[in-house]
Amino acid sequence: MENTNTISVNPFAKASGKGKDIKEKAVVGITQIAVLLIIAILFVILGIIIYQGRDKFSWEFISSFPTDGMTKGGIFPALIGTFILVIVMSIAAVPFGTITAIYLTEYAHEKSKFAAAVRFSIRTLAVVPSIIFGLFGLGFFIQFVGTGMDTAFNGGELHWGQPNILWASLTMALLTLPVIIVSVEEALKTIPRELREASLALGATKWQTIKKVVFPGSISGIMTGTILAVSRGAGEVAPILFTGAAYYLATLPESLSDQFMNLGYHVYIMSTQSSDVEKTMPIQFATTLVLLILTLSLNLVAVIIRSRIRRKAK
């Protein structure tokens, strides 16, 4: 193309004014530094844990019992105990949370006072400090329900009225309920109104619509919620402090009325009540490492599922 009249002032040239330029760069720079800082801190923490626990971290560690007053050996019972805890917790919390979420999304009227009260309770539950759950578990499940069960079925003999894996799981279930409800609600809301309308217009009842159209679409949300709940439940310690976690057990728990060991609790007692804190340092770090791997990988899976749901919703 021919070069016609060149314009003396280039309208597309960069705006002059060094001040503005510096400000723009400064903002970008500060954000970058903040992000780097966070990543750095994360790496440092992880680094310390990995470094300090690397000796102890092995298959043997995961699969054997603690020995020598818990200064040697593995964390197998704590691992199993944690597993059983999250399973029972999920059995209690997931159906209950799913039903609540279905009620809130599908059945509750916009102006219903009851629904508003439910939502408020869930929000409050989500911010209650975890130690309060522990106290509640002790006071309600153990001292009220448990003792009540003993009086009714065992003629007063102490069986259920004490800390065990059942009460600890139920207490943990209360803690993780909001997470499940929110995840399921989120998944239910991605199902467009048009699909519900299509089902109803074909002569389906509301329940049939939920069972055949809404619920199948919310499975991924239920999965996300469950995984997040499990990852939370695996790591929280305060709710199980006095509702069932034990310092040391020679055997694995055999029934719901038994006590159990727990990874998080194990780290706590290792660092505060062990006979030789120095000696058990590697064990603490290794246990922490196991716990971290567990919760981080669970969270990662949940994030992947959640992003798949969001992409589908678009």
Partner: protein, 252 residues
């Protein structure tokens, strides 16, 4: 009018305090296509949704008056809404197939009604897809996901799905407005074929579509029924000036 399928008497609809439909009285003839036309917001879709009581889903809605389908007031307290919707099907503006296979989409209605026998279901699926003129296209891929189909195919699938429950009346809310011209004309041709067996009421903002496809036309404006008559008469010599102004494009 030979056979009256629906008799509407003084029907009004309120969104809270606001009156959206004002004392509608009209007759819908059986086995004919009735088109509802009018500018945006005139209430034609709202009225359509009154016929299968889909407006019940909106909490602030209040409806007065009567809607008699074959003599029975569907707003009567003793009437089960679920049964109404089995007799009065609906096809929506934007096609909304379930995220299931083609087969399962069409079989949804019969399954809801308790039908379990596979042979019977197969037969119903085939009949419905044939009626919707898409059996040949789909017969070899009934297990494919409905979401992979084009817009026009999805909409015809939704029509097949509606037909599978054997309704008497089919409501169509701007069924072709989201489709390209070829798909649109296929749907219009389908409407012609279906009216032998069903009574069809179609809402459309496309007047030419109403002219091409319907036997009777009702013109709505600002929540009121202005004029209703044979389509031929409405488009050649409408009685009310408002109707003529709308049809000739003077407003709306």
């Amino acid at each position: 009018m030979r056979d009256i399928k629906i008799q509407v008497n003084d029907l009004s609809l309120y969104y809270g305090e606001k009156k959206a439909l004002n004392n509608i009285t009209m007759q819908i003839p059986a086995n004919k296509v009735t088109a509802l036309i009018g500018p945006s917001g005139c209430g034609k879709s709202t009225f359509l949704r009154c016929i299968n009581r889909m407006n019940d889903l909106i909490p602030s809605v209040k409806i007065t008056g009567e809607m008699l389908v074959e003599g029975v007031d569907i707003y009567d307290k003793n009437v089960d809404v679920v049964n109404i919707r089995k007799k009065i099907g609906m096809v929506f503006q934007k096609s909304n197939p379930f995220p299931k296979s083609i087969y399962e989409n069409v079989a949804y209605g019969p399954r809801i009604n308790g039908l379990k026998d596979k042979t019977q279901l197969d037969e119903i699926v085939e009949t419905s897809l044939r009626q919707a003129a898409i059996w040949d296209e789909f017969k070899d891929r009934l297990d494919d996901s409905a979401l992979g189909l084009s817009g026009g195919q999805q909409q015809r699938l939704c029509i097949a799905r509606t037909l599978a429950v054997s309704p008497d009346i089919i409501l169509m809310d701007e069924p072709a407005s989201a489709l390209d011209p070829i798909s649109t004309s296929k749907i219009e041709e389908l409407v012609h074929e279906l009216k032998e067996q069903y009574t069809i009421i179609i809402v459309t903002h496309n007047m030419q579509q109403a002219a091409r496809t319907s036997d009777h036309t009702a013109f709505f404006y600002m929540g009121e029924l202005i004029e209703m008559g044979k389509t031929n008469a409405i488009f050649t010599k409408p009685e009310k000036k408002q109707t003529e102004d709308y049809i000739t494009g003077r407003f709306g």
